[in-house]
């Protein structure tokens, strides 16, 4: 059904008039020009399109706009605050926790949700909670290190 949907996108109000069954991924990429969110599989099997909806990491390729109405959406473009990288982004740079970079937005945002839930994750927690985000280049070991580093940095920031 075509309707106007209001939500908060990266801290700012957003309104789109779309079929409410349309997936968030397409609205972000092609209506709003936020191309940092990637298409990888179209079936919630790879995590390249991960964004934060409320406090949860969701797969925007299977998230219809009707589920977005009135909610807060955070994409990779909204993570930097006042030109400063988020500690997770800082840690990904420091550890070079990416190669081709195509899965990176999804990895960072999935890690963001992970750290909201578990601010002090053990390695085993990270492996479990990141398991459904795929990386073909094999940056996994560095991503784990980066998330652990970011957890430490965010703990310091929170004090």
């Amino acid at each position: 059904m075509q309707r106007t949907i209001s939500f908060t996108l990266n801290g700012k109000p957003a309104r789109v008039t779309v079929d409410d069954e349309r997936m968030l991924l397409w609205v972000l990429r092609y209506d709003l020009g936020l191309t940092g969110t990637k298409f990888g599989c179209g079936a919630a099997q790879c995590g390249a399109c991960t964004v934060i909806l409320g406090k949860e990491a969701v797969r925007s390729c299977v998230t219809p706009m009707k589920d977005v109405a009135g909610k807060q959406v955070l994409t990779i473009e909204g993570l930097r605050k006042d030109g400063r990288l988020h500690p997770i982004q800082e840690a990904f740079v420091k550890h070079h926790a990416f190669q081709c970079g195509y899965c990176t937005s999804g990895m960072i945002l999935n890690a963001y949700a992970l750290l909201l839930k578990k601010p002090r994750p053990k390695r085993a927690d990270i492996l479990r909670l990141m398991d459904d985000n795929l990386c073909r280049c094999g940056s996994h070991t560095r991503i784990v290190d980066a998330i652990q580093e970011a957890a430490g940095a965010m703990k310091v920031d929170a004090r």
Partner: protein, 706 residues
Amino acid sequence: MNPDSDLSRRGFLGLGGSGLFVLFRVEPLEAFQEPARLPSRQAGPADFNAYLRIGADGRVGCMVGKVELGQGSMTSLAQLLAEELDVALDSVDMVMGDTDLCPWDMGTFGSLSTRVFGPRLRAAGAEARAVLLEMAAERLEVPAARLQVKDGVVSDPSSPAKRVTYAQLVEGKRIERHLAKVPVKPVSAFTVVGKSPRRKDALEKVTGTAKYAADMAIPGTLHARILRPPAHGATLKDVDTSGAGKVAGVRVVKDGDLVAVLHERPDVADQALGLLKAQFDRPQPAVDDKTIFDHLLKAAPHAQVVGESGSLAEGEKLSASIVEETYLNSYVAHAPMETHSAVASFEGGKVTVWVSTQTPFPVKQQLAQALGMTPQNVRVITPYVGGGFGGKSASQQAIEAARLAKITGRPVQVVMDRAEEFFYDSFRPAAVVKIRSGTAADGKLVLWDFQVWGAGDREARPFYDIPHQRTRSAGGWMGGNPPGMHPFAVGPWRAPSVNTNTFARESHIDILANKAGRDPLEFRLSHLSDKRMRRVLEAAAKQFGWKPARTPSGRGVGVACGIYSGTYVATMAEVAVDKGAGAVQVKRVVCAQDQGVTVNPDGSRQQMEGSITMGLGYALTEEVHFKGGEVLERNFDTYRIPRFSWLPKIETILIDNPEVPASGCGEPPIINMGAVIANAIYDAVGARLLQLPMTPERIKEALKRA
């Protein structure tokens, strides 16, 4: 950045800035771009101006036909140029894979960027530096020998006022002076090469601003979904497009074999695709993923002898025991996270195509041919590529996008969905290897008769000391196979041929060590006079804490070694096997690599870790299932690639070897992953796996045989 601003040709030429899209006045580079005019396909232009341009602002544009697939060439090639030119690494802006701006290049594959292209880029930098020094000497009226260069500033240390920058010397112009035979720097003088600076793509990739082909937003773009056959070999008989044509805003295109639906929204185009009613003629090829190995043995061409020494008959005579074994591996997909994508846009008789490809220059030629245009009117731009691994050497989507753009008069985007990506992938070939080997009474390997079907002959010859040996190869990944031998496209997959050949050789060596009751590392070393191979094995063993034992020792440790593209690599692994479930967890991998000079140690380690992690997949799960020409893999639910929960502890060792020029590092460590895990599984539970991937079913089967 306003996405529109960096798309037009004007935008490219006028803007200053950094990153991939740069920034200086462009003169016609045609002379650099036509392979036919070059002395050989491997060589690039001799004029250093093709590779570098010093801007009036002092920034250095470095133009290379290579592309950034994640392997880090954007950074390591910049390091090579900065080193030879004596400029700050941060002042180098890379322009990659743009056929209007960069010198012709065959493509980014085969671990050639550093090994083959690197010396050419260094030579260009060294010559430019020498010319600039000469110009500075004239300007400053100081002998060139007295001058020094740092960060693009030439100065006379004895007279501080005597200084001039490269930018002042060049004034944004092309340098029209050349010098012959300027030597490059010796390794001992390196200050930029050998370091691990921050990757040039880091900031863009963690902030989502890195642009890939599908991110090129051109106003008025139509998104195309293309009618695909249900199976390889199927041909379109009839299609009813009336349903799709009724969807508001949908355009239907039928152009010979190309049937597409287009819409301004990709998801609407996708829905319209579902409304096409198509009938195909479908042959029913008998071969499937079970019968493929027998098929390969029958369908392969006559084997070529690719290496021979001594006499097999003599080897047979000397042998006290003979071991024969057959090794199999299935088709494997590249499965990059970014599917094949392209955006094509016509403007004023020229077409620009942004493509996720490993081969921008060949794609340009293919586009010119398909569109009936002169190559000068075709521009291919390669933004960041979301993984290639060999699979983006083929780029049919570029031609599809351009054909549709020409027909519709609108910019067109083609992004394959995951099922198309599997269907059209040029797989790593399924293959069969048979080895007949003989050991003399004193335990020495005296006979080695190796034949590979389907994979190709790269690194098929053994590097072990074996007096009587022959290596044969029948058909491979490179094409030229009899029709139907491989029932679909095959192509280069990270270290082509070598994963297959290494799995067979290193598994077989382990079997021989076991039969001889000897430790597998000691058995290898006793047949190795190659010093580089001995060194990587010894380095890996030291780090791993290898303790000699007969297999199976129950500890679950394994070793394998190999060579790829001039790089030596030894790997040791520890696994745990759950006998009931047939499941394997790789707990630890130690990998030692000798790639000669290391340009960027951290970048090299990234590539090694990546190879090791990716290699877990073809070793344990990755297998393309097919039947009746249909590729049964559609997505990542059945095609399982490595995940976080599989992650072993990975330790990498880079051998310091300044005597050998830098060779590739992005592929070699993957070659050992099949054998090292197979050997570790044998050591754990005494079951020998002879077929990749080593799925739970195959492991349970091998346990029954054990």
